[in-house]
Symmetry: C2
Subunit: 308 residues, 2 copies
DNA sequence: GACATGACAGCAACCGTTTGCATTAATGAC
DNA sequence: GTCATTAATGCAAACGGTTGCTGTCATGTC
């Protein structure tokens, strides 16, 4: 009898314990799919990321999974390979078997997000969409702090190694970095778009050097690390000849040499917040539509004074 | 009408296209939970790993997810925090909503695995269990190659930085490393068990040095990297004073300095193989009960000749 | 002692799909 | 023209739970 579980106060304690003990002896476990059919709640959440193997995401996935499980939810994890079309397909495919989808760093258009939100509750991470619950990191402030740090070290010619097309974070960084550079009277050359990978960072090395910049801010640590590798191969000293700043503070960044100066983003907190937001009741969700998490500049060894 | 999808040959082409077009216009998507109820197949797979944020796992998860989706399956991902009790709970919780569970690097006992396999089809990764389909990496051969490499460099006093209790891989490595050392007439001091983390690798630094070994093989790259960091802090030159070898060849290992000599394990292939194995029909599965993937020693810069 | 009340148990409908079976219509054989 | 055969369709049961409703019994009130 299902009431034993769902409404214990309506059932005689004797009956309840009898039901419980026989259920135990039979090894009975309620079938969540069957329950979902009638209750309309699957107790599952979908988590869609651009690339599971990008070191930025695992801490977020881990935190989200842990938070979800604490609330008795399970997590579908899916990878889009940075492909906006795959994002849409995945949301559609998952829609019927989850109570909501966490869309992390989506590359699709806002219009498409608007369309998909009508099929399944959505929480977006790393993107602000009007009227949609979202968790974002204050990368604008982080990029600003990074530019100010570099200008403070005497750099006047800066480069921004841009990230992927469609990324809200990328636009925020660019906007904020340009504003900060302008305010400080520094030049900023914007490069990109690029894939947010180590390989793309390395491939952009010559383009960065061609700008004549003495300091670079990269879209993320992975690209910064790729750039660092390529610079090392070319015998360019960091930070002696060129300063490099990343964004994300992935685990790698404090293990490579020189240790990477970077803007740390609270990815685990974002994962937890996104789950909490999705599991809130609709009314609360509307009122707290946007959670902004703070970032912090971590100065390590990849930035130094302007050599000129 | 469901036959339009499941048995197109039984339905008039006209009717079929009519059904299809109205389905399209209504935005109809079949409900998989309902379908699962009657067919008994959920088209979901559970993937249980010790720690999502351990860089060893993301490539495996990514590959498994991609392979699963290609076969029209979705993936539940769950993290046990290296806790055997959590492993059991997770398998139980997932059992009813998946067609099978991929148990990666389990820490639980073989007996418990035997018990759980009666509740849900299981494929084990990184562990050989009698009669159970499993995907393992040939770490024994990898450890042997590593020891031979070190002995070839003139090292006679070796240390093995052991991994976590309950890990089959750890036992394999120890067994094989001891055999290889004995065969080569070298001493091998075994340390551990340890958590497979960077922190644990760093914490074991003094214990490693106290053994008097001139070369160390670590359970995995993460521990090797932690050790490398600690050695750097203490001013110990690698490979000048001490040689270090890891296992796994995670992305980090070629980015740190000195670049880590390591045994590469085909994690992505393992993820794909595990999914394929689970999705095979029962009879095939029994015949191919064990897939062993080859490993390869990658010599980089963290190993050198014996200084003595 | 008759009646109202409330606590508990049990029946049955329902969720959205698949699938076996019955029904109908169309076709071909004689 | 009748009958057998086949193709296509429609109906209803079933999957495993949840939940509203009805029924039963015991208790309390007057």
């Amino acid at each position: 009898m299902s009431r034993t579980f769902s409404a214990p106060h309506l059932v005689n304690p004797d009956t309840r314990s009898r039901v419980l003990s026989t259920a135990e002896s039979l090894g009975y476990r309620p079938n969540r799919a069957a329950r979902a059919l009638i209750t309309g709640r699957t107790h599952n959440i979908g988590l869609i990321v651009a690339d599971i193997a990008n070191p930025f995401f695992p801490p977020l996935i881990k935190a989200a999974e842990s938070q979800a499980r604490q609330r008795d939810y399970h997590l579908f994890v899916a990878d889009t390979n940075e492909d906006p079309i795959m994002e849409e397909q995945l949301v559609q495919a998952l829609a019927k078997q989850v109570d909501g989808v966490l869309l992390c760093s989506p590359r699709m258009s806002n219009d498409l997000i608007e369309k998909l939100r009508r099929e399944v509750p959505l929480v977006v991470v790393n993107r602000a969409v009007d009227g949609l619950p979202a968790v974002v990191m204050d990368v604008a402030n982080g990029a600003k702090a990074a530019i100010e740090h570099l200008v403070g070290l005497g750099h006047h010619d800066l480069a921004l190694l841009g990230g992927p097309r469609g990324s809200w974070t990328n636009r925020e960084i660019r906007r904020s970095a340009m504003a900060a550079a302008k305010l400080a009277g520094a030049n900023l050359t914007v490069l990109g778009p690029h894939q947010p990978t180590e390989a793309a960072g390395a491939a952009a090395c010559d383009a960065v050097r061609a700008t004549g910049a003495t300091a670079v801010l990269a879209y993320n640590d992975l690209m910064a690390i790729g750039l660092l590798e390529a610079l090392h191969d070319r015998g360019v000293d960091v930070p002696g000849e060129l300063s490099v700043v990343g964004i994300d503070d992935i685990m790698l960044s404090r293990l490579i040499r020189p240790k990477l100066t970077t803007v740390s983003t609270p990815t685990a907190a974002a994962g937890r917040a996104a789950v909490d937001m999705l599991l809130q009741h609709d009314d609360e969700r509307r009122t707290n539509a946007l959670v902004t998490l703070q970032t912090e500049l971590i100065v390590r060894d990849s930035t130094g004074p302007n050599p000129h």
